[in-house]
């Protein structure tokens, strides 16, 4: 294949992009693909950061680094790197990011202290679901705009979570703009009264309902938390809007990582449709761990029909029965590999037919070893570069 008809690959995907958001179900190798994309960018002379929001320590594994990467950490890359190229990695610490936001937007030292000391804030920022997604967005925005990196590759949690994650800024904005916070931030008794005025009977009932549901202490705690937090809202609203425009900007793209199984590809289709609905840009499908086709193509049913010796050939010292059994078993396995390779390609063809050809499809081969160092990531580069597994 000449350079001219080489299919579009990661270079085309990376060109002009400063944010890539990698999404996909668990176990498809999303972290590995994210790291490989960042490595490719670094090798071509860009300062690339890979940021993971996954609670487990996958990124460090993929890069062969064992430390906790809560600050951006430079990853040494052996071999050839274009001038200026750097690889960085970072893991999200939602609690610290949240604290950072509070510090950034609190109008006074007193307000900052009150919020950070609020028992309820500590819970919300540390252990409750949802805060992680908000903070991932915040961190993405921070590192994508602070000028330290030319490219940020974000490795998100698994798909359905990742959709929550995409919705996070919208949900946050909705909650802010539709007045829930404003309403709740009032001291509880006046809130009940205000509820009467603003929402009529329903509002008052709602308020006492919450009090009944969670206990008055919680409502008081939320009220206190929210009233001190309200001073940050303006800043938060601005940030959430910034995240939305960052994700929609022409320099951002989503990358859908999937494995070539029917199940994983149907998730990919779902995600593709949701992105399209939301008017968000899909940069590429990456289909990971496509089983390779053996070099010699279609094979006869038995090894003997393919010309392999049924008994150990002249000068080869092996038990004849064991030789035959070993070869039969191997042959069965080889034929299974060929069937698997065909199934994978068939599945990818179905995906293509469903989602169209205006998006690049990058097919990565299944590697024989786990990928957990830079050297192994490099082995994915030729395929990311657009040399396709023969279809």
């Amino acid at each position: 294949m000449s350079a001219g008809d080489r299919p579009p690959g990661a270079r085309e995907l990376l060109a002009g992009k400063s944010v890539l958001v990698c999404c996909g179900t668990g176990g498809v190798g999303k972290t590995t693909v994210s790291a490989a994309l960042a490595l490719l960018a670094a090798r071509s002379g860009r300062r690339a950061l890979v940021l993971t929001v996954d609670p487990a320590r996958r990124l460090a594994d993929s890069l062969g680094v064992r430390s906790e990467l809560h600050e951006a950490t430079r990853i040494p890359i052996p071999g050839e790197v274009a001038p200026g190229g750097e690889l960085w990695a970072m893991m999200l610490d939602p609690k610290r990011t949240f604290d950072g936001l509070v510090e950034r937007f609190a109008p006074s030292a007193e307000a900052r202290r009150r919020i950070l000391a609020n028992h309820y804030y500590q819970r919300a920022s540390e252990s409750l679901s949802g805060s992680q997604e908000y903070m991932a967005m915040e961190k993405l925005l921070e590192v994508a705009t602070d000028g330290r990196f030319d490219l940020v590759v974000l490795d998100t949690p698994p798909t359905r979570n990742a959709l929550d994650f995409l919705d996070a800024p919208r949900r946050l904005l909705a909650a802010l703009e539709e007045g829930a916070l404003k309403w709740l931030m009032m001291p509880r008794f006046s809130a009940a009264r205000a509820g009467l005025r603003v929402f009529g009977q329903g509002g008052a009932k709602l308020f006492s309902f919450f009090e009944g549901l969670t206990g008055s202490e919680v409502v008081a705690g939320i009220s206190e938390f929210v009233s001190s937090f309200s001073t940050l809202l303006e800043g938060f609203r601005g940030r959430a809007a910034d995240v939305q425009s960052l994700l929609r900007s022409p320099s951002s793209a989503f990358v859908m990582v999937a494995s070539p199984t029917r199940l994983s590809l149907s998730e990919a289709v779902y995600f593709h449709d949701r992105l399209r609905e939301g008017g968000l840009p899909l940069g590429a499908f990456v289909i990971n761990r496509v089983r390779p086709r053996p070099a010699s193509g279609a094979l006869p049913e038995t090894p003997w029909a393919a010309g392999l010796p049924r008994r150990p050939p002249e000068g080869v010292d092996a038990d004849p029965d064991a030789w035959g059994a070993m070869l039969s078993q191997t042959w069965e396995h080889l034929r299974e590999e060929i069937r698997g390779a065909e199934i994978d390609r068939q599945n990818v063809r179905l995906l293509r037919r469903r989602c169209g050809d205006d998006v690049p499809y990058l097919l990565l081969p299944e590697l024989d070893d786990d990928v957990h160092d830079v050297e192994a990531l490099d082995r994915l580069a030729p395929w990311l570069g657009g040399s396709r597994i023969e279809e």
Binding site: P55, N161, T214, Q329
Partner: protein, 313 residues
């Protein structure tokens, strides 16, 4: 001595992509065949069971997969709505205050309500009454196809978190009941699923350590999924070595076959190393489940797995 089916609720958890749903399905099918009326609860609105058993979506209301085996797909928002409507008593009021969608997202985000209520739905299933059955209960066994590691951990911790926050009131009471169920070793247990690969093994070891430290749920054992048997032993292994040397001087099918045989041997060696690692770090019983080609029927895939799980049922 592991006896999964003596429990009322089995949480099946592990890293994304290790086959939690397949193991959940195999366990559910095996249980239903032993006469236990079983429901598989999928979290986050997944419909994997419908896919595996070849039927349309089961939805939040649930649907039958096989005789005596059902699935429900728990969507957080549907669970929260059901819970709040029950608390509010009147749907009219729910529609009035939640219909305009401004409080619910906020309460969800700030209180982590949806995780709690999703696990609460599992508890509802465990409690569900059916007067027509001798036990008086609708379900003999609830198999929970739990979310991936990180989300599972926060979900299992949620009741305690909520109790710390509220300390009183119906939400506290609800959280306490859920915690009591999760931590009751007679009723509830956790079954891990991993692959014999480095990252899933590491993640499973960490998950087990964190569960031991933070959630006193009963840890039964770990299913190591997708393991291939040792390809060659003894004379066959010697024959493989001889073939490998011979094939190095040949091309075409001989070369392909040698490469395949080498992959089989290496993969088994890697798997064995990872299984030893997992056994050492997690300190739990392990059972190996073979990698199977997907058949046309769910049973083709699930029966051989159920066979391996047999000693743990």
């Amino acid at each position: 001595m592991i006896s999964l089916l003596s429990h009322r609720v089995v949480f099946v958890g592990g890293k994304g992509g290790v086959g939690r749903s397949t193991i959940s399905a195999a366990l559910g099918l095996a249980a239903s065949r032993r006469g236990l009326r079983t429901v598989i609860a999928e979290m986050n609105g997944s419909e994997t069971m419908a896919d595996i058993f070849g039927r349309g979506p089961v939805g939040y209301a649930g649907g039958e997969l096989r005789p005596g085996l059902h699935a429900v797909s728990i969507t957080p928002s549907a669970a929260v709505e059901e819970y709040l409507v029950r608390q509010l008593k009147f749907r009219v009021l729910y529609n009035l205050v939640f219909g305009n969608r401004f409080i619910e997202p906020f309460m969800n985000a700030v209180l982590g309500l949806s995780d709690l209520i999703s696990v609460g739905k599992v508890m509802d299933l465990e409690w569900m009454v059916d007067a027509t059955r001798p036990s008086g209960l609708a379900w003999d066994l609830v198999v929970v196809d739990a979310p991936a590691t990180g989300h599972s951990l926060s979900m299992l911790r949620t009741p305690r978190t909520m109790m710390d926050i509220t300390r009183v009131g119906p939400l506290y009471q609800n959280a306490r009941l859920i915690r009591d169920l999760l931590e009751d070793h007679r009723r509830t247990c956790f079954l891990g699923v991993s692959l014999a690969e480095e990252m899933p093994v590491q993640e499973m070891s960490e998950m087990v350590a964190r569960l031991r430290a933070e959630v006193p749920i009963e840890l039964t054992g770990i299913v190591v999924n997708g393991v291939r048997p040792r390809p060659f032993d003894g004379d066959e292994l010697a024959a493989f070595r001889a073939f490998e040397r011979w094939a190095a001087r040949h091309h075409g099918p001989a070369e392909d076959a040698a490469r395949t045989a080498r992959r089989m041997v290496h993969r088994r060696a890697r798997h064995e190393a990872q299984i030893r690692q997992l056994a050492a770090t997690a300190d739990l019983p392990l059972v190996e489940v073979p990698l199977l080609p997907h058949g046309r029927r769910a049973e083709d895939l699930l029966d051989p797995i159920a066979l391996r799980l047999e000693p743990w049922l």
